[in-house]
């Protein structure tokens, strides 16, 4: 009885009794969720356009952040370094298309997936060679990202918002909005959606797959850079950051591998879900459930909606 009380009654009592703590937890979850969503977005962009599950998305986040900080350490002004890093991501996109995707065209998905493992280890090795393996501090101040916190007092208590988190949410929202409009309105956006639906048909109307692949990998690179800056500013820039990419997996299972809104909603559900779980139900299990709760949520989804929240429903014609 007591256990049931602790699971089904007590957490909700706590939520009602101290709404400030609830709000704080929700906010922290939201911010984490936004960053998961960004990583998942990088995956979705590439998966939609080329059917490649890009294992390297996580390391691209680290690599982009590392390049930015590394360039700054070598005396390059912050915004110049930012521009150069974008350029590096563009070169990376060209390199991936030329050296990886083009020679492997028409190979099965698992081979392309393995190739992205190769890319992962190349980026780890190359990043360490050039910038060293030590954790670095994100140049948040030089990029005029805010620091400190705002405290918001209500009659029930107070909630503290880190300014960097607010910035992260705003920047992520802007980026998603721009991407959405880009997909909807531009020739290239329409071509991207077309390629996602049918390679053959896209080729026949004169869409160049090579060009599209470069564009999606570049877009994923820019998303990775943004994620890297935000995540780096909250903790530090190190290779251990790449494990957060594994958190994108449950997000993708939740949201569907081909849906941009799915990536966002999925990210938020996972982010908020794991913070709520950790705070209210974690103590029951001795804490630390944040690390695996996301996967359990995803597992639950796999049972009931294998195609994800927004994924295309798989209907087999018999």
């Amino acid at each position: 009885m007591h256990v049931l009380y602790l699971i089904f009654v007590d957490p909700f009592m706590q939520m009602v009794h101290s709404p400030d703590l609830l709000m704080q937890t929700l906010w922290d979850g939201l911010v984490g969720g936004v960053l998961y969503a960004l990583i998942a977005l990088g995956f979705v962009l590439i998966f939609k356009a080329s059917g490649v599950f890009n294992f390297a998305q996580g390391i691209m986040v680290v690599f982009a952040a590392l390049t930015l900080v590394g360039l700054h350490e070598h005396g390059v002004p912050a915004f110049v370094a930012l521009g150069l890093t974008v350029l590096v991501m563009l070169v990376l996109a060209f390199g991936v298309e030329r050296l990886m995707l083009r020679p492997l065209v028409n190979q099965s998905e698992i081979i392309l997936f393995m190739a992205t493992f190769g890319l992962t280890y190349f980026l780890i090795g190359f990043g360490q060679l050039v910038f060293g393996g030590n954790p670095k501090v994100m140049i948040a101040q030089d990029l005029y990202l805010p620091s400190g916190a705002i405290e918001w007092k209500g009659h029930f208590g107070f909630v503290s918002f880190q300014k960097i988190d607010i910035a992260a949410v705003i920047i992520a929202s802007i980026m998603v909005a721009v991407l959405a409009v880009f997909f909807q309105r531009t020739r290239i956006g329409r071509a991207l959606r077309a390629v996602a639906d049918s390679h053959q048909a896209a080729l026949s109307v004169g869409i160049s797959l090579e060009q599209i692949w470069v564009i999606v990998w570049f877009a994923a690179g820019v998303v990775a850079l943004t994620t890297g800056i935000m995540w780096g500013a909250r903790s530090e820039v190190s290779f251990s950051l790449q494990v957060i990419a594994l958190k994108a997996l449950p997000v993708l299972i939740l949201g569907g591998f081909t849906s941009i809104p799915g990536a966002i909603v999925g990210g938020l559900i996972i982010g908020i879900g794991e913070k709520l779980g950790e705070f209210y139900w974690g103590p029951l299990l001795g804490g630390g459930i944040e690390n695996w709760l996301a996967y359990v949520i995803a597992l639950g989804f796999l049972i009931f909606r294998p195609q994800g929240l927004f994924g295309e429903k798989i209907i087999e014609r018999i």
């Binding site: 721009v178 409009v181 880009f182 309105r185 531009t186 020739r187 290239i188 956006g189 329409r190 071509a191 959606r193 077309a194 996602a196 639906d197 049918s198 053959q200 048909a201 896209a202 080729l203 026949s204 109307v205 004169g206 869409i207 160049s208 797959l209 295309e312």
Partner: protein, 266 residues
């Protein structure tokens, strides 16, 4: 049947000429020394039994396959290796035997995608829908609406094509190819799986496209009645070789053709 005499004079020089084209996959020979031409303004049918190499031939013309030997001249120029992207750029549009549509997109967007190569404004301005980019978008929309009216699919403009019945999907696919304003339109079994009424509609569209826009058309079709009615000239393939070439009447009487279709008589 159409008037061959009137057309014979209207037919211009060869738009596309294939000479001695051979294509094989590993040990399987799909095409062996095939030569034929497609003249400006005509409707050219490619027929033959299953596995005769008809679709392979279209895939060669459209750059999906690279022939091992032979020469293809398009618009008076000998093509080196051809890629689908370059073929589209050169004015070749096509439809597919088993439909290749952008299933998640609306009819409007599918046809608009056919205008990809005709859009030139920078993506930044398209993003903002501003100035010349806006005018360009409006112009393209207008052309697309014309095609939609022409194909009588106004009612399904905003419907995702994946949800449409087969006959309408075929029509959308034709619309997308027309949106490219091609010089050469390749149709791979445009009437496969259609009922009589749908076939009649599609035949009418094909003739209208040919006559109103002067588009040269090469089509593969199994329905002999349709082929004989529509086409100016017919090339017949069997086991990857050309066995006959001429007007529908000539082809119909050809011994080899009869044998290929009806089997050997002993």
């Amino acid at each position: 049947m159409r008037e061959p005499a009137a057309n014979e004079t209207a037919l211009g020089e060869a738009l596309l000429a294939a000479e001695d084209v051979s294509l094989s996959f590993g040990g399987v020979r799909a095409l062996t020394g095939v030569s034929f031409d497609i003249r400006k303004g005509e409707i050219r049918a490619i027929i033959g039994p299953n596995g005769a190499g008809k679709t392979s031939m279209l895939n060669v013309v459209n750059g999906f396959y690279q022939p091992q030997s032979g020469r293809i001249t398009f618009k008076g120029e000998v093509r080196k290796s051809m890629r689908p992207y370059a073929a589209a750029r050169g004015g070749i549009a096509r439809t597919f035997q088993n439909l290749a549509l952008f299933r998640g997109m609306t009819t409007l967007d599918n046809i608009l995608a056919g205008r990809t190569l005709k859009m030139h404004r920078g993506f930044f301005w398209q993003l903002l829908r501003y100035g010349p980019a806006l005018r360009e978008e409006v112009e393209h929309r207008r052309r697309v609406e014309e095609i939609i009216d022409f194909l009588e699919i106004a009612a399904i403009r905003k419907v995702q094509v994946g949800r449409l019945p087969y006959g309408l999907q075929k029509r959308v696919e034709l619309g997308r190819a027309l949106a490219m304003e091609p010089d050469l339109l390749l149709l791979d079994e445009p009437m496969a799986g259609m009922n009589l009424e749908e076939k009649e509609d599609m035949s009418r569209f094909i003739i209208d496209v040919n006559q109103q826009y002067g588009t040269t058309i090469a089509l593969i079709e199994h329905d002999m009645g349709v082929v004989m009615d529509l086409s100016d000239r017919v090339v017949v393939l069997d086991y990857g070789r050309k066995i006959a070439d001429g007007t529908p009447d000539e082809v119909k009487r050809d011994k080899d053709v009869i044998r290929a279709y009806l089997g050997e008589t002993h």
